[in-house]
C-alpha cells in the first residue's frame, strides 16, 4: 500500500516575554536535532524534515499588533494524526518543555489535543516524490553503497564483460547479501484504489475546470484589468540586507548537503491579491499532486519538500522548503529556471519585485529578487533532516538502481543502468 506524505504545521502563540527563553531552548536542542533530549527526531523513523521557527511580534499592514508565534512544521510519511500521537508518546516531556511557553497550553495531559487544535492546513505543498518513504530512502542508500562496494572489490574483473553479465553478478550479490534482503523485491506499486482515486480527483477537477471555462473567459478581461492596475500601482520597497543580517541567515546554512529555507511575508491588501493568491496556491497544490510529483518541480530537481501556509486570516503567508546546495544556487535556480512560476506564486506578497502580466519581470530581476528573499527569510533555530547526506538527485538515482535489479534487460538497458554507479 502506498504511503503518502503529509506536511504538518502547528502554530501557537508565544506567551508575553517568553520568546527569548523559547528561542534559546530551541537553539540548544537544534545543535543536535536527531538526538537532543527535547525532541529526538532521529527516533522517529517516518519524519523526512522537521523544524521549529519563531515569527516575531510584529504589526500587520493595518498596524494591529501580532503576537509572536512558534511554528512547528514536519514533513512525514503517513497521516498527520498518527504522527502527532507517535510524537507525543516519544517526546511528551520535551514538547511539554517547549509548549509551556505558549498561550492556552493546558499542560502535559492535554498536549496531543493542543497540537491537534493548533495544526493548520497547508495551502500548497511540494513533495519531491510522492510515496517514497524515509525507510525506503535509507534502505536504497544502503543498497547503492553495498553495490558500489561490490563493484570496487571486483574492479578489474569486468574488462570486456557484457553489461548484462555485470548486472547478473550484481543481482546475485544482492540476492546473497542478507542485509539487502529488502531489495529482493521491488517497491510495491501503488494499489489500484489509490491510482483510481488520484485519477478521479484529477479528472473531476479538470472537468470542473472545463465546465467553468466559459465563465473564466468572461471574467478574464476584468481580472486582467485589475491585475494591471495593481501591478502598475503596487509599491515594491527594495531593501538591501545588511551584512550582519546576511551572516545571521548564513550561520544556519551549508553545514551539510541540504539546507532549510524559511520565509514569511504579508499578502498585499485588498480582495484581488487575496483571492488570486488563494487560487494560485490551490492550483499549485493541484499541479504538485498530479503533475510535479516525481523528482522534478518544473525543471528544478533540488527540492525535497516545500510548503506554502496562510496564517492570520490569510493576510500572511509563510513558505518553507528543504533544498540541496547553497542558497545562491537555489536562488539562481529560481531566477534561471522558474522565475515565471515564482512570480505567479509570490507576487501577491508585499514588496515582491514588480511583475508585469503576472509572469514577466519580478524574479527575472536577479539581484532585487535575491534581496527580497533575504529580507523575508527567517532563521529556523531547530531544523532536522533525516538524510542530510543525500541530494534529491541521489535519492532518485538510488531508487532507479533498485528498480533496475528486477526484470529482464537487454545490453543497452543494462549499460544505461550501470551508468547509475
Amino acid at each position: 500500500m502506498v504511503t503518502t506524505q503529509a506536511s504538518v504545521p502547528v502554530i501557537a502563540e508565544i506567551l508575553d516575554s517568553h520568546e527569548p527563553q523559547l528561542r534559546a531552548l530551541l537553539e540548544n536542542a537544534g545543535q543536535d536535532p536527531a538526538n537532543n533530549s527535547l525532541v529526538p527526531f532521529g527516533k522517529l523513523p517516518n519524519v523526512h524534515f522537521a523544524r521549529f521557527f519563531i515569527l516575531d511580534a510584529a504589526r500587520d499592514l493595518e498596524g494591529r499588533p501580532l503576537t509572536p508565534r512558534l511554528v512547528f512544521l514536519a514533513d512525514i510519511d503517513g497521516p498527520a494524526d498518527t504522527f502527532l500521537m507517535f510524537l507525543c508518546s516519544l517526546a511528551a516531556d520535551g514538547l511539554d518543555t517547549i509548549y509551556q511557553h505558549c498561550r492556552d497550553y493546558p499542560g502535559r495531559a492535554g498536549l496531543l489535543d493542543f497540537l491537534r487544535e493548533h495544526t493548520i492546513p497547508v495551502a500548497a505543498r511540494y513533495v519531491n516524490t510522492i510515496g517514497r518513504t524515509v525507510p525506503q530512502i535509507h534502505q536504497e542508500a544502503v543498497l547503492r553503497e553495498a553495490i558500489e562496494g561490490f563493484l570496487n572489490r571486483t574492479s578489474g574483473q569486468w574488462t570486456g564483460a557484457s553489461p548484462r553479465r555485470v548486472r547478473a553478478a550484481i543481482q546475485e550479490f544482492v540476492e546473497q547479501e542478507p542485509s539487502l534482503a529488502f531489495a529482493r523485491r521491488p517497491v510495491p506499486p501503488p494499489e489500484p484504489a489509490y491510482i483510481v482515486g488520484e485519477k478521479l480527483h484529477f479528472f473531476l477537477v479538470a472537468a470542473a475546470g472545463i465546465l467553468l471555462f466559459p465563465a473564466v473567459l468572461v471574467g478574464l478581461p476584468a481580472w486582467l484589468f485589475l491585475l494591471r492596475r495593481h501591478e502598475t500601482t503596487d509599491v515594491a520597497a527594495d531593501i538591501v540586507p545588511t551584512n550582519v543580517w546576511r551572516e545571521t541567515l548564513a550561520a544556519q546554512e551549508d553545514h551539510g548537503v541540504q539546507n532549510p529555507f524559511t520565509s514569511a511575508g504579508y499578502i498585499k491588501p485588498g480582495p484581488f491579491r487575496r483571492y488570486t493568491g488563494i487560487f494560485i496556491q490551490w492550483g499549485t497544490n493541484f499541479l504538485t499532486r498530479h503533475v510535479f510529483n516525481h523528482a522534478n518541480l518544473i525543471g528544478v530537481k533540488t527540492i525535497h519538500f516545500a510548503e506554502w501556509v496562510f496564517i492570520d486570516d490569510k493576510k500572511r503567508l509563510f513558505f518553507t522548503s528543504n533544498y540541496d546546495g547553497s542558497l545562491e544556487n537555489y536562488m539562481d535556480d529560481f531566477v534561471d529556471k522558474i522565475a515565471w512560476a515564482l512570480n505567479t506564486s509570490f507576487s501577491h506578497g508585499v514588496d515582491y519585485p514588480k511583475t508585469n502580466w503576472l509572469v514577466l519581470d519580478g524574479a527575472h530581476d536577479e539581484q532585487v529578487f535575491k534581496r527580497f528573499n533575504l529580507m523575508h527569510q527567517l532563521v529556523a533555530p531547530f531544523w532536522y533532516a533525516a538524510y542530510q547526506g543525500l541530494t534529491a538527485l541521489n535519492i532518485d538515482n538510488n531508487a532507479e538502481i533498485r528498480a533496475g535489479l528486477y526484470g529482464a534487460m537487454d545490453d543497452a538497458a543494462a549499460r544505461a543502468w550501470l551508468r547509475r554507479f
Partner: protein, 473 residues
Amino acid sequence: MPDLELDDIQGLIARGYPDLKAASYVLLQIDDAVRAKPWLANLATQVTPGPAKPTDTALNVAVTVSGLRKLGLAEDVLDQFSNEFSAGMITPHRRRTLGDVGDNAPERWLWGGPNTPTPDLLLLLFASDQAALEQRYAALSADLAKGGVSLVLKLDAFTDLDGKEQFGFADGISQPTIDGLSKRVDIPPNTIQPGEFILGYVNEYGRYTDRPLLDTSADPGHILPLDAQSSGKADLARNGSYVVFRQLAQDVHGLWHYVDQATQKADGSSDPHRRTWLAAKMVGRWPSGAPLTLTPDADDPTLGQANDFAYQYGDEFGLNCPIGAHVRRSHPRDSLDPDPGTARSVELDKRHRLLRRGREYGPPVGDAFAPKPPGDPERGLYFICMAGNISRQFELIQHTWLNSTKFDRLYDEADPLVANRAPGTANFTVPADPVRLRFTDLPKIVTVRGGAYFFLPGIRALKYLASLLLMSS
C-alpha cells in the same frame, strides 16, 4: 556591441600581459591617509589603461574595503559595494563554502587571514623580465614611505612556465571573450556580456550589477563617470571590477605520486601512459591542453587550444571527460540543467564565468616522480580572477561546482585537484563501460595560503579616491 570606455578600464581586464613574463603582487597598508592621497593620485597616472599594449612594464591597482575606508569613503557608500567584498573572504559561512577549513583555514594563511596584517591596496606589477620588474618596483617602493604607505608583503610570480601551470598542464585556455572589448570574434557560448566582468555595463541577465552610486554632490570635481542607467548619479564602480585573489599552494609531487601508484602495473612498475591518462582524467584536458572530450585516448597537441566543444552530445556520461574532472566542473558548458545540450543550459553557464589572470609562483618541480626533496620550496598559483558578482560567479563555482561532492549527478567526490578533503569525499570516478573505475584516498593537493577580495576601480575612480577629503580633516 557594447561601447566600452577602454581608456578608463585598467589594463588587466583587457589582457593578462602574456609578454610581460615577470610579475609581482604588492600588498600595501595605508599608514597615513593624508599623505597617501597625493601618492595615490600620482600612482593613478601611472596605471596601465585598457588600450595600452606595453612591452616594458605595466601597473594596475586594486583596493580592499579597509583601504577604501582609510581613504575616507563614507560608510553609506561602502555599504553599496557587494556583501562579498565588504564582509570579506573569511566570514564563518565563506570558510565553509569556499573550503577554507582545516589546513586551508585563514588562521594559517600567510596573508589575508585574521592573524596577518590586512592589506589595503594591491599593486599588480608586470615587466618584460626580472631586471625590468626590479627596476620598476624599486622606483615604486622608493615613494612608499613618503606616500604614507608601507609594504605588507610582496608576492613574486615565477617568470614563465611556458604556458603550463605547476602540475604540467596548459592553463588559461578557456577564457571568456568580453563582448565589445576587442575585435576578437569568438563563438557565442564564449562571448560574455561585459557586465559580468566590468561594472556599469549590462550583464548576462541584461541588467546592471549593483554597485556604489553617489550623489553628484559627493563628486564636486566631476571626476567620476555618470551612471549609465541615467539615475543622474556618479558611478564609482563603472569600468571597475572585483578581484578574487587566492594563493594556492600545489603539491605537485603529491599529484604525480598518487597517479603513479594508482596506475602501477601488476608487477609494481610504473605505467607512464596510464598515469598521465589518470592525471588528465582529473584535469579534463591533456598536458598539451587538448580536451579529453575531443581526444579521450591520447594527447593531441594540435587540439591544445581547442575550446569550441560541449559535453552533452558525445560525452554526456563522461566516458571521455569524467563528470568530476576539474575543467568540466569549473565550466560545465552545456551539461547542466535545465535541458542539457540546449541554449538554456549554455545561457546558465554564461552566468558563471571568470576572467582569470593568475600566475604561477615558486620554482617548477624537477622530477615529480622522485621523492619530495627536504626543504622543497612552496609552489603554486596566485589565483586571480575578475567578476562583477563574486557570489554568483566565483563563490558559486567554488562551492556548488568544485567543492560540492554532489556536482551534477555525483555522490561523494569533490574536485580531484583543488578541493579540500573532508572524510569520505576523497574519491574520483572515471566513467567507463561496462563499469566505472573508482579511485579512492586522493591526497589533498592544493592548500590555500592566503586570499582576499579586492576592488579594481576604473582609472577615474582611482583618481576620485585619491581626491577624497578625509572625514577627519
